[in-house]
């Protein structure tokens, strides 16, 4: 999967094509590009899926969700999300790094970095709440690089690779690693990175965390 930042022009073209606003010649030209440009094809696929998802569950996305929906979310523990959102509203473009482990529905976001852990040797604790089915760990990407990277989590005790992801791209200097709650066993994991597409070995980072599902 090749997810890249599209140019403004391509974002506009992609949108116009999806909405059937291009004349036949331009639509054909755009469709031909889909066969030769993997990043554009991936963006088109994802946009189609996103649009379909939005149509499937519009209430979740609408900013003006019904009072009933909001009450239900509130009862599920959304105060934390709201607090995080208020913080996020003040900052554009959107960043997750300053949000303290927000929960969105059943997804928990955790920013793991040395700064938040006070620069100590103690591994950062990642203990998802009971309501979280999915955990997204965000780590700082190597400075000035956007990837793609290969990332793996290695158990500190058994030295076994617990999880490995390929072709990760950094967004706003952050790499996002999403996994289901049960994908990792309890333990301490070290984050290791390598540049994708090269035969370079994985290099350990300064980041490690204790996972407690």
């Amino acid at each position: 999967m090749s997810i890249e930042l599209l140019s403004d022009q391509d974002n506009l073209l992609l949108r116009a094509w999806r909405r059937g606003e291009l004349d036949e010649a331009k639509a054909l030209e755009f469709e031909t590009r889909l066969f030769f440009e993997p990043a554009l094809l991936e963006a088109a696929k994802l946009d189609q899926a996103l649009e379909a998802c939005f149509r499937e569950a519009p209430a979740l996305l609408a900013g003006n969700a019904s009072g009933k929906t909001w009450r239900r979310h509130w009862e599920r523990g959304w105060p934390l999300l709201l607090a995080a959102s208020v913080g996020a509203l003040a900052v554009l473009p959107f960043r997750h790094a300053d949000v303290q482990s927000p929960v969105l529905g059943n997804v928990e976001w955790v920013a793991v970095d040395v700064r938040r852990n006070g620069g100590t040797e103690t591994p950062f604790l990642v203990a998802p709440r009971d309501s979280a089915d999915l955990v997204v760990i965000e780590i700082p990407a190597p400075r000035g690089a956007t990837g793609p990277f290969r990332l793996r989590l290695t158990g500190l005790d058994d030295r076994q690779v617990a999880l490995e992801l390929d072709k990760l791209q950094a967004a706003d200097g952050v790499l996002s690693l999403a996994f289901t709650r049960d994908a990792l066993a309890a333990g301490v994991y070290r984050v290791e990175l390598a540049v994708a597409g090269e035969r370079s070995a994985f290099a350990p980072t300064d980041l490690s965390f204790r996972y407690q599902p």
Binding site: L34, F35, A49, L89, L92, A178
Partner: protein
């Protein structure tokens, strides 16, 4: 042929507005394969042109066939509800709907979801969106990029267990 499948599917999905694409995709690939074997296509660009032209022709034929059936049945078909387009073929069923909700809930913060909702569902023009959310085109592009990236990561993580 494998390299043709994914883009062809995306094109058909867009042109057919969410109706099932499997049959047309297979039919198109079959025609392309036969033409390639017969030596009618010499280079990749011609292969793509031929595939797109074939797909358009087959879609037109399909459309005409439907129109004819509708006329032949003297309007009886008009009483039947149209098939509901579902965008992605896999986004169906209760379990998958639940999966979709999980994915959506995982996209960004509240403001980002509002923006994406306006972008994808309300289909507001980009310049209006930029004005409403105080973004320039570059920032809007980055939000879209993040949404696609998070969506792919979450969907893959979920697909590992539930799809």
């Amino acid at each position: 042929m494998r390299a043709l499948t994914a883009p062809l599917e995306v094109v058909l999905r867009n042109r057919l507005r969410g109706a099932p694409v499997d049959d047309l995709r297979q039919e198109t690939l079959l025609v392309v394969l036969q033409a390639a074997r017969a030596g009618q296509i010499q280079e990749p660009r011609a292969l793509v042109d031929f595939a797109l032209t074939t797909a358009r022709q087959l879609m037109l034929n399909e459309d005409r066939k439907r129109q004819r059936q509708r006329t032949d049945s003297r309007g009886e078909m008009d009483d039947l509800p149209d098939a509901q387009p579902d965008g992605f073929d896999f986004v169906v069923g209760e379990q998958r709907r639940h999966c979709v909700e999980k994915v959506i809930a995982g996209i960004g913060n509240e403001r980002e979801r509002q923006l994406l909702h306006a972008y994808y569902l309300e289909e507001q023009p980009s310049d209006q969106l930029q004005a409403r959310f105080g973004l320039d085109s570059g920032q809007l592009g980055r939000v879209l990029y993040r949404a696609r990236q998070h969506f792919a990561a979450l969907w893959n993580a979920l697909a590992f267990e539930t799809i």
